[in-house]
Symmetry: C2
Subunit: 247 residues, 2 copies
DNA sequence: CAAAACTGCGATCAGTGTTCGCTATATACG
DNA sequence: CGTATATAGCGAACACTGATCGCAGTTTTG
């Protein structure tokens, strides 16, 4: 279960433990291999398909053997999440404009969520950030170095920024899932919400449902993401720093 | 598991089914009672403590009997979530300023998340909104009626607004949980992050960790929530509408 | 009054994360 | 070199989960 221990002193985090100790036979697998197997399963069939048994079968071992690499299933998911954070690339030089640089990171994050939608189901609360998450923090903090924010304000801004990316990606993916099977969609939400609106108790809902455009063409989300993300960023950041792509 | 069916045509939603049919003996319980029992359990011990068996025991019945009221555990969680959305109150008149009115809703939402932190673990994706969620949408849409946004833009804005409230609440609650046991906190994250920063590979992380204030006094979050939320809202909304509390 | 439809539920199933104890194997140390 | 030590892989099992089936009792419908 990916629930909330919220206040529990389970042993040291997986990032604080060495992957392998000196003694004993050399392991036949690795954290990276196990995480990759889990990611493949989750990409194909969702996070629910990532069970100790299925992952073990995927790498050709017994379920109990996984616990030589991972203390719990949640740790396996932690490995998966951090491995996926490794898909960020920081090769571009950095423009000096916080909004521009963060927007670049946001685009990459958006792509990662689209590639691995199960990441939306991962609750990081209370887990230590893995090495790739730390690398992401480092580069996001670097983008904020020009601002006059204090250290803790920068850390907080990075958290809010990551959350905003997650939020936008989630909105997009849900819309995308909904639009996939239009027949089901019309039959479920519209067929459920329209009668409610027609009952007269919810005039504003009725008005909003009344003037819907035909259907969002998929290519139109990119500018929306950019514009909304830019606005949120300029809101989070202290004023006075106008990004260059603004008139 | 609260995982993603993401594309499944399970039967009609619980909101489309009548709570009780005419024939047969009258039920000894109700959806509301079951939801309340679940909420009590979740408030006390997290969403993971809400099992069919524990809820059944809480209302004094057998586990199998719950399936007369609910088709699946996820539906039970849906009931819980919607019942909690019922804690919004819409008695205040409405100022006519979108940002002011939405901020009022945001405060209530924030309070709800603080009262029921397990709500952060509930993934609504793909579920139909319950009556209380619909009521919330109605009032959020009402706040947006003055803006020049189209119907679908208003609906989307409500979704992003709700997500932003959730995001801020989550950030606050995580910080709050972290600050509760300072000893554990110092020993885990700081003791884990500081060596990384000291290694020299992450200069911006080191700089951000360097100038941390003593400790956030809890009463200081309120203005931060207001300020950041206001900024996000003014970013999401079309320009030109300056809320009255701004100079 | 009988047919139909529902409620409560004991028993049970399949699936889950996790643990225990075993054997085999590799390193560390004297 | 030899022995202690710590690990790797894992079969078997445990506790617990959500969910199903079918039966007996109860209420409404016609």
């Amino acid at each position: 279960m990916t629930e909330e221990p919220r206040t529990s002193d389970r042993g040291p985090s997986i990032w604080a433990r060495p992957e392998r100790s000196a003694r004993g036979p050399s392991p036949e697998h690795s954290r990276a291999k196990i995480a990759s197997a889990g990611i493949t399963l989750a990409d194909a069939s969702g996070l629910g398909a990532v069970t100790m048994r299925s992952v073990a079968a995927a790498i050709g071992t017994a379920p109990a053997s996984l616990y030589r690499y991972v203390a719990t299933r949640d740790e396996l998911v932690e490995l998966m999440a951090d491995q996926v954070y490794g898909e960020f690339s920081y090769h571009e030089p950095g423009s000096g404009h916080p909004v521009t640089d963060l927007l670049r990171l946001a685009h990459q994050g958006r792509a990662i969520y689209h590639r691995h939608p199960w990441l939306l189901d991962v609750r990081a609360a209370g887990n230590l950030p893995g090495p790739n998450a730390v690398a992401f923090m480092e580069h996001a903090l670097a983008a904020l170095s020009g601002t006059g924010l204090t250290g803790s304000a920068r850390l907080e801004t990075v958290g809010l920024f990551s959350g905003a990316v997650r939020l936008f990606a989630q909105t997009e993916i849900e819309q995308q899932d909904a639009g996939r099977d239009t027949a089901q969609w019309q039959g479920s939400l519209a067929g459920y919400l329209l009668p409610i609106a027609a009952a007269g108790q919810h005039p504003h809902l009725a008005a909003a449902l009344a003037d819907q455009p035909a259907l969002d063409d998929p290519g139109q989300h990119q500018p929306l993401f950019d514009r909304a993300m830019t606005r949120i960023l300029t809101g989070l950041l202290p004023p006075g720093r106008t990004p260059p792509e603004f008139s």
